[in-house]
Structure formats: structure tokens, C-alpha cells
Amino acid sequence: MSKAPEYPSIKSRTLTITHDIPISRTKVYWDGLREGKVYATKCKNCGQTYYPPQPDCPNCLTSNMDWIQISEGTLETFTQAYLKPQGFTHYEQNYIIAIAKVSEEIKVMGWLEETDIKNVKVEMPVEITAKTMPDGFPTIILKPKQTSTQHPALNQ
């Protein structure tokens, strides 16, 4: 590829943005992550379940929710991120982002506890837990279940 010619430019003044995101109505969720647990919400009025959890129900327009823990699912898809955005460039590992199906209404995104993408298969059963990373941010960990409970697809 031919190198692009260099053009004169000037630097803009620096803009730093950090948000204070309100969690007063989803505090159960954020506290849960610190305890290793992942919660969804279930509407006390119509029974609809929500993940990501939301304290308001657009289905029946009420705001009265139960918190329900979600703890296992099966992998629906995954990728390994070599490209890391600003905010994640200090993570040395190329993390595996995956989505697990928990129920007809609930799917969860998380980081898969596995370093070799070759060991990962769609329909793998996973445990859903959470942890706090060394930089203080929470994340959800999808942990492949032990071989004895592996999905038949894994033996292919």
C-alpha cells in the first residue's frame, strides 16, 4: 500500500468525558455483579422477563419488578476480539465475547472463560457468573461446564 502523503494539521483542545450513570433503580444488578451473580427482572404484573434488566415494563406499562438470578445457558454465538477499543487496550488477552441463551426471553452477553477459540462451540453449556476486573470494572463470565455435561455437538 502506498503511504498517504502528509498534510499539515493542528491539534484540537482535549475533551475528556466520563459519565456518572444513575443505577438507583438497577442497584440489585450492579451489586449482584460484585457478588458474582447476574440478575434479570420479571414483571410482577404480566410476568414478562427482561435482560438487560429494566425496572419498567413496556409490555404492561407498570414498574413493579421481581429480581431473578440467571445462572446457566447455552452458547448461541461468539467471537474473539483482537481489536480493542479505547478503554480496553490495557487488557492483554484477546477476550472472547459470547452470547448465551438462558430462556426463550433471555440471552446474556459475557466474556467466555477460555483462551483457545478452537475449544469453543455453539451450543456449549455455560455457567453464568460475574467478577470485578483488576481495573475495578465488572464483567460477566460465561464458564464452560465440565466435560461430563458437555453438549453432544462438542464430540463431533
Binding site: M1, P52, Q80, Q86, I97, I99
Partner: protein
Amino acid sequence: MKRVAIIGVGHSKFGVRADATYCELAFEAVKEAIEDAGITQKDIDLSVVGSVGNRLYDMYPAPSVNEYVGLTFKGPLRVEAACASGSAAIFTAYNAIKSGFAETAIAIGVEKMCEVDTPTSTAIGGRGCYLWEFHMFGTSFAAYYALFATAHMTKYGTKEEQLAKVAVKNHYYGARNPKAHFQREINVEQALKSRVICWPLKLYDCCPISDGAAAIILASEEKVKELKIQDPIWILAIGYGSDTGNLTRREDYTSIKSTRIASQMAYKMAKINPEDIDVAEVHDCFTIAEIMAYEDLGFCKKGEGGKLIDEGQTWIGGKIPVNVDGGLKAKGHPLGATGCSMIYELTKQLRNEAGNRQVPLKKYLALAHNVGMTGQYCYVTILGR
């Protein structure tokens, strides 16, 4: 109902445009569009700027763009629909004419992405659903489309070679488009050997981060007669669709549902079928997106997108030529400009002005498919002559 015509189109060179500001890029496109239409700024009633804009040094780009191109007092809004912002601008301009608010309107799609570094641009892009995805998992658009690629490959047996063939085709045509970001051919082996960005997507599966602008001037049928414009291109239909913000709330990851919704709406409105289309521009931000678009737009059966590229049916001479300007993959994808760039290319095609990339026309029907994010927005526009 009033018919709406395309009377002028303009397009800047796409690429890393360190030589120009976003206003200067918009000028390149607007100047060409105005000259193409044979009108002046005075003839334009409304200007709609389509720009994602969040990588710019300005946060409110529309007033500066309109002032710079001589359209002050014509631009009361900026529209944003992520990567479909250009189509959203055309949709807004089209509706203003349909409703009688305006006789002539311009949609200006403009984006400057390369003034910030790649991790910053990636982070801005990945923040479509910050709280439940980016915050915890460092998602990016490459990661999102990679999730679709894995699911599609697992369910339908789509191969990495088939993804690579999409890149090879689009680079082939990009090499013949002087306005494209990348103007060089690649082969399947190069694509397969390129470095992994988000597994299974590799460098050549991904569109570049680009700067650019495109502009489209629309007019009512009355205005077309008044301006004595012969044989314009007509907008026959615009269909739209949308989907959940959170990817975890999707039914599955092998299809873009909003594409199906938008295209069905557009086909019905234009009273045509997918087989009637002579040439299409589809949203190939990643190669897997082009494969899914073939299927979701009805160019082939679900799951047979890989086969369609294997057979070469989307090259010129095939059943349905797709992205013969290089697509987002090789032409580049300056977000807000892309929807207008698609209409620019299709207008040139329908006028038989596409030179060495001209598609043979049978029914003089063309389709543009512009997705925002991973289907959170979608517009399908059908043009005819």
C-alpha cells in the same frame, strides 16, 4: 401522491482525507450535485445533513456545513441513524417533498472519521449500547458482525473462503472506481491470510475507517417539469425497518431482521420483486453483512448467500450485480455519507454513466440497502428510470 425525482448527485473522493475538513468534503459533493442538477443554491428549499458526527471536532455539524456550501437558512436539522444516516437524510428530504413542504431538497451525507485514532474511533463505534454491552465487554462493530458470522457459519456452513470472495469482488470494482478509498485488487489467499480483527473476521473482511461526503438533490415532479429536466431518476419506494438496541434481545444472529422488514416494505411500495432489480448497493460493512444482505433482500434463499458469491452471481454479468462501485468494503464507509454514496452510484448506473463498471440494464430498476449498526436501523430505497 407527488412523485419525487433525483435531479443531481455529487460525491467526494473517499479515503483518509487528511487534506480536508468535513465542511470542505461536503463542498466537494455539494458542488458536483448542484452542477449536475444545473441549478443554484437558490433553487433548494431544504437542506438535510446526515452525519453520525461523533468523531468530529464539532458536535453540531449541520450549520457549519450549510454555511460553508451556501445553504444557510435552508438547514433546520441534522439527522442521525448511525451508518444509515445518509439514507435517513434522503428519507427526510423525500418526505418534505412528498408532503409539499419543499419542491427541491438536498440530502448531504458527510463524515470525518480519521481525525481520531483507531482505538478511539472503535470505542465510539462500539458505544451503541454502552451500559449493557460496551461497558463490560469492550464490544466493537467488528465484534458485533463477527457474532453474526460465527452464527451464520455454524448454521449454514458458510465458509471463510466465501467471505473472502465478497472482499475480492468488491476490491475488484473499487480498483475501477476513482472515488474509492482502496483502488487495488486482492485475491482470496491474501484475504484469508490477513490478520484477525475479531475472529472469524479478518482485516479484509472489514470496511476501512474513511472520510467522505456525498450529496443528492431531490425534486418534485412539478419542479422537474419547471426545470425542463429530461428523463430523471425516480425514487419508487423507500422502506424502513429497525430492531432492538441490545444484541441480546435479537431472535437470532444469522439474519438482519430490519433488512427483511424494510425490503418487503419497499418491494410492495414499488410493486416489484427482487428478481426485477438490475443492480444493487448493499451494506457490506463486513463481508458477512453482504452475504446476509443477499439472503434478507431475497436475492437468494436463506442460507445460500455463500453459494451466490461462489457462483459469481453478484458480479457484473451475474444474476444480480452487487456493489460494483467497490461497496463499503473497498470504496470506504464514511458513515453519514454511505447512504448518499449508494444513491449516487445507482443514479449513475441508471443513467448509463458508470463507464467501465456499467451494469447492463433490463428493467431500469436499482436497489440501495443501508443498515445502521447491526440492523438497529435499515433503509431500502428503490430507484427507477
